[in-house]
Symmetry: C2
Subunit: 209 residues, 2 copies
């Protein structure tokens, strides 16, 4: 069995973290880089990642997560936030970045910029759902990278975005919380760690044609 699959079989959604253990800085750096390098539509990266380690902030999080204790007890709690809209300012900032990184004149990217803005403007209220889906790709990268590094994780949809946004001070910003992930080390008494992983038979999920 490949080392990758071994890692993916090892992982599970940790329910209880060991509050005494912290992810070492160099390991954390790799996880953060995986987030930054995640793919997104057009490579637009319509997201921000809030990495919360402050005990004061973390104490407030269970109330914004239906009482779940993972945000408080894990080592690093990541909130993946999406752009509410993909507007001209944001796309221009991305075009400027492309031009700088690739050493081309920004004007050479105006056609692409206008095509993206045309698309997002046609999307109307579907912009946030679209940017939110991009965050789930980044969540996948974060979870797989964590598994490869043998860092425990708990992906958490059970957050209350309005409350998290207030805690993060982004209520009136272009960003809003979409999904979160607690990372760290499982508590020795997390009984979920012993549960067999449940997946449908591959034959029921994968169709070859």
């Amino acid at each position: 069995m490949s080392a990758i699959i071994e890692s993916l079989l090892w992982r599970y959604a940790a329910k209880r973290f060991d509050p005494s253990r912290t992810i070492p800085a160099d390991t954390w750096q790799t996880l953060e880089q995986a987030l930054v390098l995640s793919p997104s539509s057009y490579g637009l990266q319509p997201w921000k990642f809030f990495v919360i380690t402050s005990p004061t902030i973390r104490q407030q999080l269970p109330d914004a997560a239906w009482g779940q204790t993972q945000p408080r007890d894990c080592s690093h709690f990541v909130v993946l936030a999406a752009r509410r809209t993909v507007d001209a300012d944001f796309v221009q900032s991305w075009v400027d970045r492309c031009a700088a990184v690739r050493g081309v004149p920004p004007e050479s990217l105006h056609g692409l910029r206008d095509a993206i803005l045309g698309k997002t403007s046609r999307m109307g209220h579907e912009q946030l759902p679209w940017t939110s889906r991009q965050c789930y790709i980044a969540l996948g990268f974060l979870l797989e990278t964590a598994a490869l590094l043998r860092i425990d994780a708990c992906p958490m949809e059970g957050i209350i975005p309005d409350r998290i946004d207030r805690i993060l001070g982004i209520t009136d910003s272009p960003w809003t919380s979409v999904v979160a992930c607690a990372l760290g080390y499982r508590s020795p008494d997390d009984s979920a760690a012993a549960d067999a992983k449940v997946r449908f038979d591959a034959a029921d999920v994968v169709v070859h044609c």
Copy 2:
């Protein structure tokens, strides 16, 4: 730099594939297992993965993908399809599977089953957006695993779900196409391979608090 980050820096969205090259069976097996092992909310796996290698089917795909040629020229084309609704039958099939894998009586999972059904029924028309987001986690797993294995990939949102559904014969099924991914080997003349990867400065994307 870690081998993981090296892989993530290596990857890019391949625009042109080499139609003469096929992913070896054992490598494909690992990619498929990564899809099957992808996490999802509750572990429900509200998805099906269509792996298309048939030349007859692949010839039809560019028309369902705004003329893009990756589905035709890649080695394996994956369509990630989501449940349109998470209904009682589906959740029961998942509960039965949990019970069988974990060796517990299905009745012991009825509380969880009812909680999930309560949640999805409150979601109403938000069920497909929710199951679609889960597919993006699987897309993340597929893309990261491909990069680790040095398999080229092109995630593709630019598909026309109705047409893909018709080609796959799932129009009247509980499943619908959400997003796709071409996998294989880049063509030597894919100029996109030489483009520098563009990411915002980590300091603009990651907020520590």
